[in-house]
Symmetry: C2
């Protein structure tokens, strides 16, 4: 009983929502489309979120808002990551090796696709930043001309 935060923090949906700065509706929506299943439930059926869940929520938001992937694509990515994590766990348990290899290859291809997307984003952001630098320079130049040159 050490590989998963089994008996650790069990947050209610409102707490999880506040900590991750999303709405409760959004958390239920993520669950509805299969992105995030809360770690557990109370006796009465209320959702209970773990710290892992919180990290996953933040991760989802990053992919969505920063990388600009839609929730469907995020589902694919998370699935690849889940597979990788599970393999890490099952590794010592020596499951079907052929299957393990198969899954690892798929996870690697998902990883490579995502790296490609992120790399492209980085590149374009860099060129865009250069453009902004030039614009700022022109702006400063014109301002200096107004202040100094024509008093």
């Amino acid at each position: 009983m050490s590989h998963r935060d089994a008996g650790s923090v069990q947050l209610r949906i409102g707490e999880a929502a506040e900590l991750t700065e999303v709405s409760t509706r959004t958390l239920r929506w993520y669950e509805e489309i299969g992105l995030l299943t809360p770690a557990g439930h109370s006796a009465g059926g209320a959702r209970r979120y773990s710290e892992d869940d919180l990290r996953r929520i933040v991760h989802i938001r990053e992919l969505q808002l920063l990388v600009g992937i839609d929730l469907g694509g995020i589902g694919d990515i998370l699935h690849g990551e889940d597979v990788l994590d599970d393999l890490g766990q099952e590794y010592r348990a020596g499951a079907d090796l052929v299957r393990q290899r198969e899954i690892l290859l798929e996870a690697r291809s998902v990883n490579e696709r995502l790296r490609g997307v992120v790399a492209a984003r980085q590149e374009l952001l860099t060129t865009m930043m250069h453009g902004l630098d030039e614009q700022a320079a022109r702006c400063a130049e014109l301002l200096a001309g107004l202040d100094g040159g024509a008093v």
Copy 2:
């Protein structure tokens, strides 16, 4: 007659759409919300797009898909850039200096805001890429274990 591509290419909306890989509906939509007014019109009223227009379309798409700004925010940014370009043109014509300064300051603030957004995106993409690197490393390690260690 040298500062603007006045008599240059005059593309029809379908051509502009194909070259920039957006739909004609999207181009009309950008016009409707004030993001992009085509350089001219035919006698019968059909839109004619210039090369500058094409560049602007690509720019809009970059801001939208890569930086993740909504079309309203893109309007603000483009306005700032337009103002800066216009000032560059009118600079020698010596317009109202006070007004020029006012406009320049606003353009600079828009520029700074955008730089902040882009910088934040860059930073988070970098950390995300690090995570992907680690994941890829783990993946490669496990694969090596499968291939080499257990034959």
